[in-house]
């Protein structure tokens, strides 16, 4: 595949900032592909997922790790999952997933649909409690938990990927409003 001369622009232009104990950074370079499970295809899908990505199928609201391509499988809907991974062909991640799953799922590239922002550090939950209505306490939202929710009128997917670390994904077109909302939450709490 030829390397295109078209310049790719990250949704948040590579944003990276630390305020106090909280670090905010755009995550780029990861591919995101949705995989919908055909009716009656649950078993085939589970087998393909294990075979192709070395992952088990997470329940809706949970995620699992695969042992290939740094993959993480997010249970987004009862019959739809997101696969977050390092795509061998960044321009055609859906094809990569299709190849890995052998057609056991309907796949759709979502890489550019979402701006991805990691928020991490000691004060992270205090900042998020200003915009996120979900209970992010350890007992309610342990590591690996994922949810789609709404923050400041924006759709956001939130994945807890560490003790004090969350990956936030929000639609690309409103990425600047999204970044502003998260950044302001951190700033409002800073000394």
């Amino acid at each position: 595949m030829a390397e295109t001369p078209l310049r790719a622009r990250p949704a948040l232009d590579g944003y990276n900032r630390t305020v106090g104990a909280v670090a905010l950074a755009e995550v780029s370079g990861l591919a995101l592909v949705s995989a919908a499970v055909p009716q009656g295809g649950d078993e085939a899908f589970a087998a393909a997922l294990a075979e192709g990505l070395g992952a088990s199928r997470p329940a809706t609201g949970d995620s699992t790790a695969g042992d290939r391509h740094m993959a993480r499988i997010l249970g987004m809907q009862p019959d739809q999952l997101f696969i977050l991974f390092e795509s061998p062909d960044p321009d055609r991640p859906a094809e990569s997933v299709l190849a890995a799953l052998g057609g056991a799922a309907y796949v759709t590239d979502q890489t550019d649909s979402w701006a991805m922002l990691r928020i991490a550090g000691a004060g992270v939950r205090s900042a998020l409690e200003r915009i996120c209505m979900l209970d992010l306490a350890d007992e309610a939202f342990p590591e690996g938990r994922v949810a789609r929710t709404v923050m400041e009128h924006l759709a956001v997917i939130i994945l807890r990927d560490g003790a004090d670390s969350f990956l936030l994904m929000s639609p690309r077109s409103s990425a600047r409003s999204f970044l502003h909302a998260v950044e302001l939450s951190v700033l409002n709490l800073s000394e």
């Binding site: 329940a59 809706t60 609201g61 987004m76 809907q77 009862p78 739809q80 209505m133 979900l134 949810a147 789609r148 929710t149 709404v150 759709a155």
Partner: protein
């Protein structure tokens, strides 16, 4: 309000869009003799109960499931939450 989602646990109702009476699952047969009347009643007439009400909620800012929520319109107490898809299948809807 809190909707206790059957798959995800309690979620703020603000994540949902509400359609209305769950009888909207029971879309009539378009080839029925009296299809015009059936569709009129289906789309327009409501029991509108003061009490237990089965209604359709869409978890738009969530897992995109349509839910059938059984809720009291007098107290707002939520009595039961089911996946609408399961309800539809149980009511004989298929293809």
């Amino acid at each position: 309000m809190i909707i206790d989602h059957p798959l995800l646990g309690p979620r703020d109702a603000q994540e949902f869009a509400i359609l209305g009476d769950a009888s909207l699952i029971d879309r009539p047969d378009w080839q029925a003799e009296d299809a015009a009347k059936l569709f009129h009643d289906y789309l327009h007439l409501r029991d509108n109960p003061a009490g237990e009400h089965r209604e359709l909620w869409f978890h738009e800012q969530g897992d995109r499931s349509w839910l059938v929520v059984t809720r009291s319109t007098l107290t707002h107490e939520v009595l039961k939450v089911e996946l609408a898809r399961d309800v539809a299948i149980a009511r004989g809807r298929d293809r």
